[in-house]
Amino acid sequence: MASHLLLAVLLASPLVAVAQEQLANQTSSPSLLGRHQKYPMPANGDKKPWYRPRHVVLQTGGGIGMIAAGVGYGLGKDRNELDILLGYVPTKYAGSSLSIATAKYTYSPFVLPVGERWQVRPLTIGGYISYTHGTINDEEKGQYAKGYYWFSTDTRVGPVLGSRLAYQRRTREGQTRNISFYYELGSNDLYILSYVQNRKALSVGDILTLSLGLKADF
């Protein structure tokens, strides 16, 4: 239950951010009107309101959708990132159409510049929590006694590990914006448990998933 709440809050936050921003624009004082900058940019850098997402994300695989799209935030010199994604799997691939909400946190300790425009993050580690809506057998209220199935059929958590390649483009204002391609190897709680209890029969490769994605700063 707590995880569902957390997810709902995380999902709502970008929307709230956008709404607040619009509200702020509307209520800005008349004297500033006309000279109002959408995102005030001090000379020393690229400051934006804390709640404004820094990038958009598009991903396939990783157990969170055939296509998952969303927004994300960079924290601590952009080495930590929090992405909020909404994924979709059509009936053809799952027996019912699935909507999957995911919050993913990643940390990339090394940022290696390659030439002027390119950048490699050789290691990205992190984790995600996802909530799937729309399964065929969706645990109706009163269907099972408490603890009948000890696991949640909808909420998955798991680790991710990957790399990223980024291209740095410059905007007309002279700011840098990254467009990056990433891949992540991941797993989930139920796969990991299966592996831990069957070390002879299952291999790590059996429980891995792969995701491919794009991130673009804006």
């Binding site: 799997v89 691939y93 027996g95």
Partner: protein, 274 residues
Amino acid sequence: MNSWYSCGCTLALTGLVGCSLVEYSPNQTHMPATERALTNQALQRLQAHPKGKSDTVRFVFVGDTQRFYDETEQFVASVNRQRNIDFVFVAGDISDFGLAREFRWVHERLQQLQVPYLTVVGNHDLVGNGRAIYQTAYGPLNYTFRYGGTKFICLDTNGREYSFGARVPDVPWLQQQLQDTTGSRHTVVISHVPPTDEDFDPALVPSYTAALRGCPRLVFHLSGHVHRFSAGKPFHDGVTYLTTYSLAKHRYHIISLWGQRQFRLETVTYGPDA
């Protein structure tokens, strides 16, 4: 250009493990073409070695492979050492979380059996999108087949997975199958949840057991779910109900059927305790 090197290596490694890793959801139904309609595939293999109507049918009966992959490998090794086995029957709960990969992990092991294997759907196989996954991987939830003069009726009795409601098991279908005795000498009914269990829809226990009682050709009713062996006539109506071990118990049954309603039950222990 160390960074290029490391990046290239990682990408190449990723490329090697291939696209089947790109999983849309653990609940997805996608299966490689060779791993679909496994019930039909098994029945075709079985019918390729037909038996006379009066021959003894001998099959391995076990339940609940769920998340016991190490044990499943030991089970397969043991069954492959047996002689004169016609087929293996797994009485449901093939998977534990109803996830596609689990079905594949189990099939990967059970396909090493020298004889075909058949299944019936279990409650764990119906978790999440398990129903669609089972239908893709194996086939219909209710089906019948005939072998050596025996008609096997396999059906979904996991009432709780449908929040009860007097729809599962499909009793009219069962009655119809019990009445149609063409080409068979006796009948065996196999389901995952036995009608003595609280996960069986209580509203359907009377009609289900009455249907079985009304079939003089019925040898017995076989189930899994309880992970242990039990045998008896719990409804005091002459109908025998048997349950079998889960894979975790390192035991399975070999059932022989012959004559009008004769049968023999052998218990085999395997793995580290054997």
